[in-house]
Amino acid sequence: MTEPLLQVEGLITELGETARPLRVVDGLDLTIRSGETFALLGESGCGKSMAALSLMRLLPPGGRILSGRVRLGGTDLLHLTEAEMRSVRGGRMAMIFQEPQTSLNPVLSVGVQIAEALHVHGEGSDGRNRRRVVELLRAVGIPDPEQRADEYPHQLSGGMKQRVMIAMALAGDPGLLIADEPTTALDVTIQAQVLSLLGDLRRETGMAVLLITHDLGVVAETADRLAVMYAGQIVETATVSEFFAGPAHPYGRMLMESLPSAEKRRGRLATIPGRVPPLDRVFSGCRFADRCASVMPLCRERIPEWIGLGAGRGVRCHLWSEGEASHPGPARNAAEPESGASERPSGSVGEIGSPLLKAVDLKVHFPIQRGLFRRVVGHVRAVDGVSLDLSLGRTLALVGESGCGKTTVGKAILQLIAPTSGQVLYLGRNLAGLGHRAMRPYRKDLQIVFQDPYASMNPRMLVGDVVGEGLQALGIEWTRAVRERRVADLLELVGMDPESARRYPHEFSGGQRQRICIARALAVEPRIIVCDEPTSALDVSVQAQILNLLKDLQSRLGLAYLFITHNISVVSYLAHEVAVMYLGRVVERGGVEEILTDPRHPYTRALLSAVPVVDPEKRRVVIRLEGDMPSPSNPPRGCHFHPRCPEATSRCSEGYPPEVRLGASRYVSCLHLD
């Protein structure tokens, strides 16, 4: 075994006032060897990022390390002076962050920002640094590095910015790279690019990577070993193959069970009830006990010890203490088979699957205005001819990467944005072009749930008023008492305490807020709900709760969902039909199974291949897409995808390929379908 590169022992970090501190990292032990990728896995609020910032000694104001040892290649980092620590930061140990958008200084060119790191950690002349900057940019796969070095962050795409961050981190030739959710803010095809870049660089330079993530798929694909963190502590360490063969701690197991997938379609997803406990208290038992499916009386009485399971594997759980090791069986609420409700038609309004809404050649173009007189100099073709069908009681997933226009489609269907042309036929009536007044009777039937449950509720309104406002606004229910009763029923329907009506949105967690938003949409008894990435701001265990709820509501109320998402595993679990969008157009649509198992459009194939698989044994072949999605203000001639398409021929640039019907419900826009 190689000498460990990083050794952390008993690290304790606190935040906040000394009188009532939050112990965000509580006794962290960690060993990372040279050249390996070590993943630190956990949901938000588990202390992963604070652990990483503690290693760098870059804690936010008020953060302090109380005790512990952090040894990096023989140096005890906690005993260095601040000046000595500065030469470690960005030198032997570098870090990249989650948000490449905000992590680069907007007023300095990227070349200058990289050169700065070179300057701090070397004594090179300006000319040599400039050459090295270009080398680094080339090494992270940025085209035209000489030219790009002089550009500013806003001129680069998100993926490019993360590459620049990586180049900056490489400047000091680090032995350890800490990557804090490096691909969370990126699209899945860009994520695939960045992850493979990190893997290549690790092999070339021999550096170790500490990968902090909540994404089990990313861990399965990139890491060698991992530690699962929960409420400030590590609850399990294992090699990746051991972990995915069977997590030792119930938390890891429940996380895996709550992931949506095609195999789980028939039943409900397992959920983890409750949330991560606040860290301002002293624990007297296991921190996970309140949410654990395998909880025993002992778990609440005694703090579980760290139990070594041999060869670097270990767990913090009473199930593994003497005599109990045989117990980690299936969890209580693990993937319980559905009680038959999921496919049962509601029967209230028409037949399941009967057509409800049809978008025909929908276009939304935004004018680009310039100059003194706001002259229109072009158009952003956000949506450029999209046709869709929504049916009663069914879910149509609209899939695509950011900027492809999927959210705009949702808003245009609801007439929240006026379509430039095309039709939105709801039960045969064209909604496009209806004025506010004419649209009002239809508002009741068409509702929306937004991505960010934090930003989509007025913080100064009581939850009851948030939910009940639609009833009043659309003149459905004028009597206050009746309305309050309806609101209470609705809250109960989405699994909330009716008493919540008297509280404010900020008193609830993200998952609870999203339930409230769903109750708000349901209040007016809609038939169609546009769900715009409703779970992408949530942790997987909470996501499972929301997905279960949406599925239940659909079967009980016969709702049709237009589910806008970039998350393929959610699609495979929830959707009946799928439409894949690229640069304002649907490139392929059809039934969920045929599209996910046998994608025909090259973009669909690339998109699906880029999704990390939660199974380290299944190494997939990623179809690497070069570059980024072009701007919708100036889409490529012919097929919009052809400049990035691995199968493109000269014919592809001649005209946009017509939609070809393959089978009963499948349509594909590609010239090469053989």
Partner: protein, 322 residues
Amino acid sequence: MTGTARIRGGGAPGSSRIGFLASRIGSALTMLLGVCTLVFLLIHLVPGDPVEVMLGEGARPADQAALRHALGLDRPVWAQYLDYLARLSRLDLGQSLHAQRPVSDLLAERVGPTAILAVSSLSLAILLAIPLGVLAAQYRGRVVDRAAMTFSMLGAAVPNFWLGPLLILVFSLWLGWTPVSGREGALSLILPTVTLGTGMAAVLARMVRSSVLEVLGEDYVRTARAKGLGPAAVLWRHALRNAWLPVLTLIGLQFGALLGGAVITETVFSWPGLGSLLVEAIQTRDYPLVQGAVLLIALTYLAVNTTTDLLYAAMDPRIRAV
């Protein structure tokens, strides 16, 4: 179809630095014409007959007719407008009714003192406010911060008509270090500069502090620290470069206001500036002079704003791309 517009094929969306400059200057010139037109209309917006207002009620009809003719008010409006623009292009702003001298001469005498006072007091404000604000942000919640913010509150709360006489009382009358009023040598500049400068410094320091605090919490500042940069480099290269931007806007506005004449301070110190000239002109109903002064002040604002925009663009690459 509504909203259709010509789509310029192949027009490059990203305009260059020169394009940005041209568009800014173009818009400034358009505003200039607008300002001139508004000032021209000023005299026609006066309620009642402007000639009667200027000469007072008891004026003789012959005098009224003479003035009306002198001002060109007896001609059609469009002819007056064209004539006015033609005169403007020769920098002819007409005759002051009261002083019986060209308005441009009167203004020229006052511009210098106003500009000197504006530059000196703004410089003082910047020199005080930036270190204070930066220190307060760096040592947030500590003694330095509290002291700086106390100064800031006092500075903003104390009115110039009180501070000015107080300074005269202490430094001119008791100590005899500076002249009481007027514009006699460099020493006479000190008290009005302090009066104006401290007030502005107070507002500016608060702005600098909050701007620096905001920027220090940004992700890129954390990135800079993660690179291993020292506190000075983090502060100067990363934080201040961004924190400057909103501060610059405020400085531009304050400078514009100062150039328009600090009426109260100029009156307290008998400083022969534009502000006091404008007040006199209004009191004597000297319309040509009012028009000239308003035009000059508006132009100054325009120039300062355009300069601020251009500086902003020089400092923030994101704006150049718009």
